[in-house]
Amino acid sequence: MRHLRAAAAITLAVSVVAGVTGCGGGTSSDGGSNESPKTLTYWASNQGPSIEADKKILTPELKKFEKETGIKVKLEVVPWADLLNRILAATTSGQGPDVLNIGNTWSASLQSTGALLPWDDENFEAIGGRDRFIDSAVASAGKEGEPPAAVPLYSLSYALYYNKKMFADAGITAPPATWDQLVEDGRKLSKDGKWGLGAEGSNLSNNIHQTFVLGQQHGADFFDEQGKADFTSDGAVAAVKQYVDFMAKDKIIAPGNAEYAQNQSLTDFAKGRTAMVLWQAAATTFAAQGMKPEDWGVAPVPVPAGAPGAGKQTNSMVAGINMAVFRNTRNIDGAKKFVKFMTSDAEQKILCKTYGSIPPVKAAQSDPAFAAPELKVLRDTLATSAAPLPQVPNESQFETAVGTAVKELFADAAAGSPVTTESVKARLEKAQQTMQG
């Protein structure tokens, strides 16, 4: 009797498991449908000062869309802490929004799940054509050679922010244009408890963004043509070492920065403790911390020599938010219309102005708002000298592995342990071995 009952229980469990795993995934209707043409669910990411602020910014625009097309958009602003988890759950179960924002570095990974609608020529035509968008922004939306998995929505790049007064006091007349100049200026500024440069040493993404760019400048890509990890090339090692050396050798970054992960480097800058910081659009944060706009200036991120450009003159990764559509949406035409609406010239001008980002739509960039000093630098960088992060499916593994290696190197530097080419290479070697597949 006991055995029978146990056998029954196991059979039940196995059949349920089979049912669950068999029904997993949203492949019921492979290409989407138009079953619910009147509604759309949209997951927006948090771009503004708060979730409530985001709702206030987006709701009028959604009402406009409803008036135009009669489609009601159900908006949910998802905090960053939850967004990836929820996208994962949605991908797993097939139960999710129709349209959503994704961080552009997630594009290749999500693309490989097969859950997102590919933007082939036909789909691009429906929203006005691929040429409307900046090339580098589209290149950050999926694997090269395949149709992108998303459409760029808000774009950003990195810039060098510097404290005008501290520069003037140290007798520096212009922001540095090359790394050597930056180190030199940094040394002049790093005294009396103040420091030349700030860094978020424990922020894995930030570490990747900085070292990737330095890698480009050293001619290294972190991934080879087949998409396999290559963290130990001379260029990659040199790039990581250069970044960590700002603290270890040049001593222009305060040791305390090694533990920063909550934008403390921005606070340090706003309070006049550091003179320079490399960041995406930081104007609103400085203002929130009490710094006046006239106190800081913006310049392009330095390059080894010469002026920023393509290839080895890259000085920023393409940052930003992409808009994607789930393949199994029940309102595929409506979703495309919504993407068209959000990437229209008019909406791009409105939204990017509010969020302080750069429109990836070329025509919208002509708005005078984007010629303001800070945005102008970002805009030009985006157009001429920004490169997309590796568009590989295991991009987030890359971020974790190499980002952690850099974090640990910063910890070494802060503790006073030597940072040598060998030690850098050893850590990157270890990181590379954790990359699976």
Partner: protein, 292 residues
Amino acid sequence: MPSRDGHRAGRSPMAAPRSFLWTRRVVLTLLAGFVLLPVYVMISSSLKPLQDVSGKFRWIPRGLTVQPYVDIWDTVPLARYFVNSLIVAGAATVCSVVIAVFAAYAVSRYGFRGKRVFTVTVLSTQMFPGILFLLPLFLIFVNIGNSTGLALYGSRGGLILTYLTFSLPFSIWMLIGYFDSIPRDLDEAAMVDGCGPLRALFRVVVPAAVPGIVAVSVYAFMTAWGEVLFASVMTNDATRTLAVGLQGYATQNDVYWNQVMAASLVVSVPVVAGFLLLQRYLVAGLTAGAVK
């Protein structure tokens, strides 16, 4: 057994020696200090403007302001999250305790096939890391939703079901122990008087196990109140709970530390008040009901 609560008014001849009293004072002061240190930091941070919070630490803050306590309600829909948490935690607690009482009564009072399997399985659920069955659980909820139309994901109901199950194992285990200590004579006496076993449970066993039930309710409530991982995936904007919602103060560009602290303190006040009220039930003699 007489309740010990409040029975000792003055020093009796069997009072503790001075050395014990002094040790006690020192130890309790140290523990209180340890507990209070972060609370003090929370309170003082909640009263500072944002710029000062990230500044150098000072024991006495300068420039106090109550603004954060006003802002917390706007930055994040705190009131809604609070209500959601109350509903979810409250419902999960009530259901969990009721189900646990039934289960514990069955294990404590009856012998039956599969009892050991049940208790061992219940214990083994405590060993599995939550991250692992997060996605499968979500999948199950979605499948249920697809086949029955009962949407458990994104709803408070799904979260209630999840949380009440999370607190079941420990609750059942503890209640088995409490029930075991209540002598069978009481049940038997009641049943001789004509009660069925269920009436006996409610009229005799439960009143005798009140402190145990209260302790277990506190545990179930706090488990539901503070759970983050499953709430982050299972809720949407309308049903989000506090534990996850508090992270909304960390936005894309800024982290509003002062508001995080203020909001945490505000939502914890009712919980601490609840503790204060429930205390006396906790420490009454566990076998008060057995005293005849």
